[in-house]
Amino acid sequence: MQRTMNRRTFLFAATGVGLSWLWRSYGLWPAFRPPATAIERLAGALDHQESAAVIGRAYVQAFRREASPRVLAALLVERIPGGLGALSAGSERQVRELLRRSIAEDFSDLEIVVLHGWVFARTEARLCALTALRDRAA
């Protein structure tokens, strides 16, 4: 038993390392490169990561051209008042507040998407999508 657990733990860890390496590689792409911290901050903003990922997968299926963490992060940052600066400088609480405000604005501006019948703000759907993509191996 002990051995199997150890092996499994190792495999998980290895995947984890692999994932974080993949992230870094995104940063090397020539187009707009939101720093790894920006993607990280956004993807981690939602508490219930699993649920977010489920919604996020639905979004990605419907909007395939946004199916990249880089693209999603860039679109999200665009909507945040203060942009990348505010995102990087702010505390976790402040980041959430900024996102919350974006979401409220989305509803005011009717920037909405309908996923499986549910009406979401574009920002929150993108946030979920980012969470979903971050979880995936690629």
């Binding site: 909405i112 019948g117 009406v119």
Partner: protein
């Protein structure tokens, strides 16, 4: 006074000034306006004072378009007409309902709200309401339920007043008064078989009447009014084809077209994120003498901006029915436990036998349904059903069929149709509503209606409100309507129509108050202009 048509001698020719066909809300309202005047009025009512199956069967008719119940279902064929089973919900049309809508053909009335307002005021006591106030501010005094705080430029709350159940039947309300009226005679069991005209086919001369026993006679009048409902008015015009083969008022093939309903179906659910909103305003509740019920709808400014018609969003609260998955026993237990918890907190402490506080008892006796909701403290589900104001569609129509009823008169069938713009209306308005619900922090909306599903793109549970309208629509142009702004049938000098068949559009409100107001307007017109 009342008379039984079955005892009128065969082949009699009754002379009268005004002959009204139909003893429903329109016919009764019209007739009452002549009480005490020097004019003689005859009302021809097919049924008796009570429901009877044989007479009701004369109303039967099938449906060949979108699914619709048998035509004898929504209507009642005895004195008082369909008011013998209506829901009592009243609200006047809004100003925008009378305006033509850009991009939506066949909208616009030949009259404006200002033309109808004086008659609305007179209609209020006739339908047995207490108040002519309809503004939201009039109905939110202290300590009464409040409307949702949404952006009124997007989703507005509208007020309807509900007539007391015991006072809804026009027949019961006004039977005595009409009985005492010397110059008004209501003929019961009198079936109008059409309208006969002179040779020019421009002046109505007589109405042939047939009773179930086969007794036939004639009613001659100076003025004739069809007030038999949107389906029957069509039937009467179309079967009156002795001199005009297409029927009366049908020179441009418009009689029966533009049939309108207020289709309704379950469309969405709200999942509240925080404490459930207090939605008591959207259930029937009493304020003073009046019974109020609010409803949500897209605002007129949104409709105009997006080129849409009206959409009502009716809230249906589910306070705690057990979950649909009947096998999940544990959840039933938890639900019951929560209910008992909620009642416990209202019990006086320290009493061996649990009793609620006196205030709670009082509130429960006062308004049991509301209080029940408050005590529950939570809503399991918030359902939304939509009621659509459909775009006028000439292909949605009532037409004659070959089959004849027991009296030998041809029956009608309904070919009910909706349009693509109606689908767009539902989709766009629900998305707007979802955004508003979310913006207000209430929760998220899930749209259940899928317009790609099924053959017609409309849900299986779609029904009508039993609001039958539009089939002899009003327009100043005979090419676009059957009657003019004075309710006179185009091409006829003395034939008029009353009732919801006049409506060119369905509006965002229930039809009864409007049709009573229009009947009053017609009565004034007849008294002051036509018969003066």
């Amino acid at each position: 006074m009342f008379a039984d048509a079955r005892s009128v001698p065969r082949d009699t020719r009754l002379e009268t000034d005004v002959c009204i066909i139909g003893g429903g809300p329109a016919g009764i309202t019209l007739a009452r306006e002549f009480i005490g005047s020097p004019l003689r009025v005859s009302v021809l009512e097919s049924g008796g004072l009570e429901y009877d199956q044989e007479t009701q069967e004369l109303y039967e008719g099938g449906s060949i378009g979108l699914p619709y119940p048998n035509l004898s279902g929504p209507r009642l064929r005895f004195f008082g007409g369909t008011s013998n089973h209506w829901g009592g919900i009243c609200r006047p049309f809004d100003e925008a309902d009378f305006e033509a809508r850009e991009g939506i053909p066949f909208t616009g009335w030949p009259i404006r709200k200002a033309d109808v307002d004086p008659f609305y005021a007179r209609a209020v006591p006739i339908v047995r309401l207490h108040s002519g106030d309809w503004a939201l501010d009039d109905w939110s005094p202290d300590h009464t339920p409040v409307p949702l705080q949404l952006d009124p430029d997007r989703i507005e709350t509208r007020v309807t007043q509900v007539v007391d159940e015991r006072l809804r039947s026009f027949g019961k309300n006004y039977e005595d008064e009409l009985r005492r009226a010397a110059n008004v005679t209501v003929y019961l069991h009198a079936n109008a078989m059409g309208v006969q005209t002179d040779e020019s086919a421009q002046t109505a001369t007589t109405v042939p009447v047939l009773t179930p026993e086969g007794n036939a006679f004639q009613v001659a009048a100076k003025v004739f009014v069809l007030g038999a409902g949107a389906i029957e008015n069509v039937r009467l015009l179309l079967v009156s084809n002795d001199r005009r083969p297409a029927g009366l008022g049908n020179q441009h093939d418009l009689v029966g077209r533009f049939f309108l309903e207020h289709p309704r179906f379950f469309a969405a659910r709200i999942a509240p994120f925080g404490p459930a909103p207090n939605l008591a305003f959207y259930e029937s509740h009493s304020i003073g003498d009046a019974m109020i019920r609010g409803y949500l709808a897209s605002s007129k400014s949104f409709q105009l901006a997006e080129g849409l018609l009206d959409l009502q969003l009716r809230v249906e609260l589910d306070y705690g029915e057990p979950p649909e998955d009947a096998g999940d026993f544990a959840r039933h237990v938890v639900t019951l436990g929560k209910d008992l918890e909620s009642w416990q907190r209202l019990a006086m402490p320290g009493t061996p036998i649990p009793v609620p506080y006196l205030d709670v008892i009082r509130k429960v006796l006062d308004s049991p349904e509301d209080t029940y909701g408050y005590i529950r403290g939570r809503v399991n589900k918030i359902g939304i059903t939509t009621r659509i104001e459909p775009a006028p569609n000439p292909d949605s129509r009532v037409l004659l069929v070959e089959e004849r009823d027991e009296l030998g008169m041809r029956r009608v069938a309904l070919d009910w149709r909706l349009s693509e713009i109606d689908k767009r209306n539902v989709r766009q308005t629900l998305e707007l509503f979802g955004a508003e619900i979310a913006r207000a922090g209430i929760g998220r909306l899930r749209i259940v209606y899928d317009q790609d599903e099924g053959e017609s793109g409309w849900p299986d549970d779609m029904g009508g409100g039993e609001h039958l309208m539009g089939t002899t629509r009003m327009s100043n142009d005979p090419k676009h309507g059957v009657v003019d702004r004075d309710c006179r049938v185009h091409g006829m000098t003395n034939l008029f129509v009353a009732g919801s068949s006049l409506f060119p559009t369905a509006g965002g409100a229930t039809p009864t108050l409007m049709l009573v107001a229009l009947a009053l307007r017609l009565a004034d017109h007849l008294k002051l202009k036509v018969l003066a």
